[in-house]
């Protein structure tokens, strides 16, 4: 039966090829975007772990991802520290590693933290080599894994952050998320770098974020609420709130992915339906003959459904392989900049093929039913 269906498809090589190609285009796009989405979801999940184990306090009006040139005064730190349940309120200061944008993916940031209190936070990521920053460290840096690779840094070596030399004292393990491209320094060092970059911006003692580590056993949501009530002029982002912001971000991207999938569905599906209707009407007499010699409705139905699903399957396989090839090449090209744009998960490989096969089968239902329910006598008369 399979052999027979394949031979039938081969009869109209050009048409079969074009229909398959239509699916290939859709599935190619789906695979590439799927790999992109997998990478983003990976980063988002990393960010989720990073952000949801603490409460972030940011200036009013800004969000987890975007600080719009507004800063917190350091006087907020003792205020927050005074809220019952707060173990440590850590002033933090982030600025871009370079003024040129690194393009796609998580930004490369210099993160300054108040080292006298930041131990709990800095221990959130496992250290691979060396040690985490300690109170009193100056001109020292702990690098996220991506940055370590980019600088080809070893413990004890010196790297330049915005033109200033820093000694590498530690390198974090890969988390596949935001902190991989962070360079952790002391709060004072970060502020100094900021001042050097913005000589006309009169800054005193400021912080971009204040991260709150709760006492053990304290409910983070309740604590966030208490901070919000007792400290004015700040926005408190609780783990739940962070989760919401992160989800929103990935939701938008997944919606785009779904949109592409939907377009592939309509375009590919219609072209399969079209091809199958043409095949059925071309072979009407053959269908009549088969019925005359005793074919059941079901076997005609099965034959045409198989043909349609094979179109989908071949289109899916080819589109997916081309997609993987493109993803591989793009990753190679960008790897020189230490940026990984795509991640290939098994879902990225298997998903589009299954999707295309189901799509093909579904698109075949209508033409196959039409073929199966032809009256033998009418079908035989057809020329």
């Amino acid at each position: 039966m399979f052999k027979y269906v394949l031979r039938n498809m081969w009869r109209r090589k050009a048409r079969t090829f074009l229909t398959v190609f239509g699916i290939v285009v859709g599935i190619f796009a789906l695979t590439v975007l799927g790999a992109l989405s997998a990478r983003l979801n990976q980063q988002v999940n990393g960010a989720r772990t990073w952000y949801s184990s603490k409460i972030s306090v940011v200036p009013k009006g800004s969000s987890l991802f975007g600080a719009d040139n507004s800063y917190l005064e350091l006087s907020k730190v003792p205020e927050i520290q005074a809220v019952p349940g707060v173990k440590n309120a850590v002033a933090g200061f982030g600025l871009p590693l370079s003024d040129q944008s690194s393009g796609f993916g998580t930004p490369e940031l210099i993160i300054g933290a108040d080292l006298s209190k930041a131990k709990d936070e800095l221990e959130l990521i496992r250290i691979k080599e060396g040690r985490i920053l300690q109170d009193g460290d100056q001109g020292k840096v702990v690098l996220g894994s991506t940055l370590a690779e980019k600088f080809d840094a070893k413990i004890g070596e010196t790297v330049e952050l915005r033109g200033e030399p820093f000694e590498v004292v530690g390198i974090y393990e890969t988390t596949l998320s935001a902190p991989d491209s962070f360079a952790f320094v002391s709060y004072e060092d970060a502020l100094a770098l900021f001042r050097a970059a913005n000589p006309y911006f009169q800054v005193k003692e400021i912080a971009a974020t204040i991260d709150v580590i709760p006492e053990p056993g304290v409910d983070m949501e309740d604590l966030a609420k208490r901070i919000d009530e007792s400290v004015s002029g700040v926005k408190v982002i609780s783990p739940a709130e962070a989760e919401k912001q992160i989800s929103q971000f990935s939701l938008i991207f997944n919606a785009i992915l779904l949109g592409i999938g939907f377009i592939a569905l309509i375009v590919g599906g219609l072209s399969i339906i079209n091809t199958m209707i043409m095949s059925v009407s071309e072979r009407t007499q053959e269908i009549g003959l088969k019925k005359a010699v005793g074919a059941e409705t079901g076997s005609i139905l099965g034959e045409y459904l198989t043909e349609a699903s094979l179109i989908g399957f071949f289109g899916g396989i080819i589109g997916m392989l081309l997609g993987l090839l493109a993803v591989n090449i793009l990753n190679r090209v960008t790897s020189s900049n230490n940026v990984t744009i795509f991640t290939v998960t098994w879902m990225v490989v298997v998903g589009p093929v299954i999707f295309a096969t189901i799509l093909g089968t579904a698109a075949g239902v209508f033409p196959a039913l039409r073929a199966a329910h032809l009256k033998p006598v009418d079908a035989l008369k057809e020329d």
Partner: protein, 233 residues
């Protein structure tokens, strides 16, 4: 045995009623070799389709080996076609993507016969029509006469009680016409299968044992054929 009684087939085209078969009675005994003749539009092919369970009558009954087909469901009719009837068509109707043997195997496939036995029986049927050496050829590589022989092998492979042929020689030259008729008559004599051949070729009718003539959907004459001996050259 096939008994047709009070058979009517009426087509409606717009407001017009066309009585393709109009109150027709006919009995065909087992093992007969008969031709059905008549002018175009006399209802020959329609009758063949009705007897072959490819179409349903408007009124009247057809019984095949005691089974009244008007009471049967579509899947029962499929089963009767599959088990009791073999068809031969004017245009051969071989599937172009299958070779001769695979075409002959097709009805057995629908009977779910295992592949080895299918193969064996198809080769047997091809031997009966003298085409074993063409078993692996596709229809496009065969002459018209050869294609019709393959079609006959396909009709016979299930050992049906009734073989219905609709203008089987319509596309063939005189020599091949003669060979096909000769083949069908020999098979009829050997196997005692019933053959009913629709034709408008007087030569074909002359070779059969019984000639039923239709006119306006009715039997206008039903007489013994000349049953001439064949000499194909």
């Amino acid at each position: 045995m096939i008994v047709v009684s009070g058979l009517k087939k009426i087509y409606k085209i717009g407001d017009m009623e066309i009585r393709a078969i109009d109150n027709l009675d006919l009995t065909i005994e087992k093992g007969e070799f008969l031709s059905i003749v008549g002018p175009s539009g006399s209802g020959k092919t329609t009758l063949l389709h009705l007897i072959g369970c490819l179409d349903l009558p408007t009124y009247g009954g057809i019984s095949i080996d005691g089974a009244e087909i008007s009471t049967l469901s579509a899947s029962d009719l499929t089963r009767i076609r599959r088990e009791k009837i073999g068809f031969v068509f004017q245009e051969f109707n071989l599937l172009p993507v299958l070779n001769a043997r695979e075409n002959v195997e097709l009805p057995l496939r629908y009977q779910k016969v295992p592949s080895q036995e299918r193969h064996r029986r198809a080769m047997e049927a091809l031997e009966m029509v003298g085409l074993t050496d063409r078993a692996n050829n596709r229809p496009t590589q065969l002459s018209g006469g050869e294609q019709q022989r393959v079609a006959i092998a396909r009709a016979l492979v299930t050992k049906p009680v009734l073989v219905l042929a609709d203008e089987p020689t319509g596309e063939l030259d005189t020599y091949n016409t003669c060979r096909i008729i000769e083949l069908m008559r020999d098979l009829n004599r050997e196997t005692q299968q019933t053959f009913a051949i629709v034709t408008h070729d007087p030569m074909v009718a002359d070779y059969t044992r019984r000639v039923v003539t239709l006119r306006d959907g009715k039997v206008s004459s039903d007489e013994a054929g000349l049953e001439q001996e064949l000499t194909c050259e």
